[in-house]
């Protein structure tokens, strides 16, 4: 016993090494998962309380300082509302025409999904991982693999997908994560590809398996293809930054910058689309 006390630093190092190595080797076991759950359980109340206090202070401060800005924004909102009201009539006509033509062509009816707003409580505290924690969870009907979107200006674009759900919290894996894979399509040329995170702090994604005959132009939009069982088709993802063509490869690659910046996103919407679990399992198995 005296030996352990005298060499407690080395004993701690060796036991930590053994514990961490075993934990990393069996990382999917319920033992390590429940330990992680305990840790989250301890820290999340602090984070939630801080979030509550910070939001309250922000609202109070805004009451004093942002009245002029609010008045200006209200005027702008009135003008925009009038524009949208005028556009609604045109849109109704276009929607009806679209539905009639779809019916004539025998296309399936386009499914419209409900979505719920959520606020970001925290982001991954470490630079090696990129996840977002939001204040809505299984109590609000959120399930793993549901798509998450956000607005940038007037455009709605993909943020990522739900990977972990607890009672009133969920964890979102963003597009820039290297382990995230999304089936995408080039909006203008309609060529499909598979997108994944490039490198964590680059803020970029890479689209692989694009047909070599595809013409890639900087600024072209990339949208979801709807083929992975998670994201509905047609959601904006990002814009092309650069293209990579290698003689040794049968495909082209494109570097894509997501429209939603991970570092600045604050509010998101979870699309309540039930994921196609059979399809996801099939893709993950291969």
């Amino acid at each position: 016993m005296e030996f352990f006390i005298r060499h407690k630093a080395i004993v701690t190092l060796i036991s930590s090494f053994i514990f961490c190595t075993v934990s990393l080797s069996v990382q999917s076991s319920t033992f390590t998962l429940s330990l992680e759950g305990l840790g989250s359980l301890f820290l999340m109340p602090f984070q939630k309380s801080y979030n509550f206090v910070q939001k309250g202070a922000q609202v109070m401060w805004a009451g004093f300082t942002e009245l002029d800005d609010l008045r200006e924004e209200l005027n702008q909102a009135h003008v925009k509302l009038q524009e949208y009201e005028a556009a609604t009539e045109d849109l109704t006509e276009i929607r009806k025409e679209n539905e009639r033509l779809r019916l004539l062509l025998g296309f399936n009816e386009k499914i419209v999904y409900k979505s719920i707003p959520a606020q970001i409580i925290s982001k991954d505290p470490d630079n090696w991982f990129r996840t977002i924690v939001i204040n809505k969870g299984s109590d609000d009907g959120i399930r793993p693999n549901m798509p998450v979107v956000a607005f940038t200006g007037e455009k709605k674009a993909v943020v990522g997908k739900i990977i972990e759900v607890r009672g009133s919290l969920s964890r979102v894996q963003p597009l820039i994560s290297p382990t995230m894979k999304v089936g995408v399509r080039l909006q203008s040329s309609r060529y499909p590809g598979l997108m994944e995170g490039y490198s964590l702090n680059s803020g970029l994604c890479i689209v692989d398996y694009i047909n070599k005959s595809a013409f890639l132009q900087k600024g072209d939009h990339v949208i979801t293809s709807g083929q992975g069982g998670i994201f509905p088709p047609g959601l904006l993802v990002g814009t092309i930054e650069d293209s990579i063509t290698m003689d040794s490869s049968a495909f082209k690659q494109a570097l894509v910058r997501p429209l939603i910046d991970y570092n600045h996103v604050e509010e998101v919407f979870v699309i309540l689309k039930i994921p196609d679990l059979d399809l996801i399992e099939l893709i993950e198995r291969h």
């Binding site: 407690k8 701690t12 930590s16 090494f17 990393l24 390590t32 840790g39 991982f129 964890r171 490198s199």
Partner: protein, 167 residues
């Protein structure tokens, strides 16, 4: 010493919240946030020896792992190893001033980054480009932030340091 344990717990919880909460995204430079928990660990190991640093690294590492999407142990082990290494020489060998704190924290951050990279390559996913994108920027950032933080910690632990004869 009980007061210093409470201070340590408060410092670790505050730094973990600061690293995680989106309202502190202003701290990000080039997408990288400083690892304030790690700076605190380096300080404890440097000032109070390997064991104190390792114990702090172990607890904060587990919390870090549980808040992050990392597998349990991936962020803990590098911190424990670095805490042990720094505690071997500590304040008795390297005197506390700006010229020693910067290289000490920079070197410790690089070592932590390299160990994390190796662990990520074995157990998770990582690429060598992470040295340029994560390890080096984070190390520079940690080294710069360490100067004011070490001064603050010196003030907080003035009594303990005085008792150990290193202040």
């Amino acid at each position: 010493m009980n007061v210093s344990y409470i201070f340590t717990a408060i410092i670790l919880i505050v730094s973990l919240i600061m690293q995680g909460h989106s309202s502190f995204d202003v701290l990000r430079i080039g997408g990288v946030k400083p690892d304030m928990t790690f700076i605190a660990i380096v300080y404890y190991s440097y000032s109070f020896g390997s064991f104190y640093g390792e114990a702090t690294a172990l607890f904060s590492g587990f919390f870090h792992d549980s808040m992050s999407n990392s597998p349990l142990g991936l962020l803990t082990l590098p911190k424990v190893i670095v805490a042990f290494a720094i505690g071997l020489f500590g304040r008795a060998v390297i005197k506390s001033n700006v010229l020693t704190i910067i290289p000490l924290v920079f070197g410790a951050s690089v070592l932590k980054g390299v160990i994390t990279l190796l662990l990520c390559m074995i157990f998770h996913e990582a690429s060598v480009s992470d040295i340029a994108y994560i390890i080096l920027p984070e190390s520079f950032y940690n080294a710069l932030l360490a100067i004011p933080l070490f001064l603050v910690f010196d003030k907080i632990y003035e009594n303990e340091l005085g008792r150990e004869g290193s202040y």
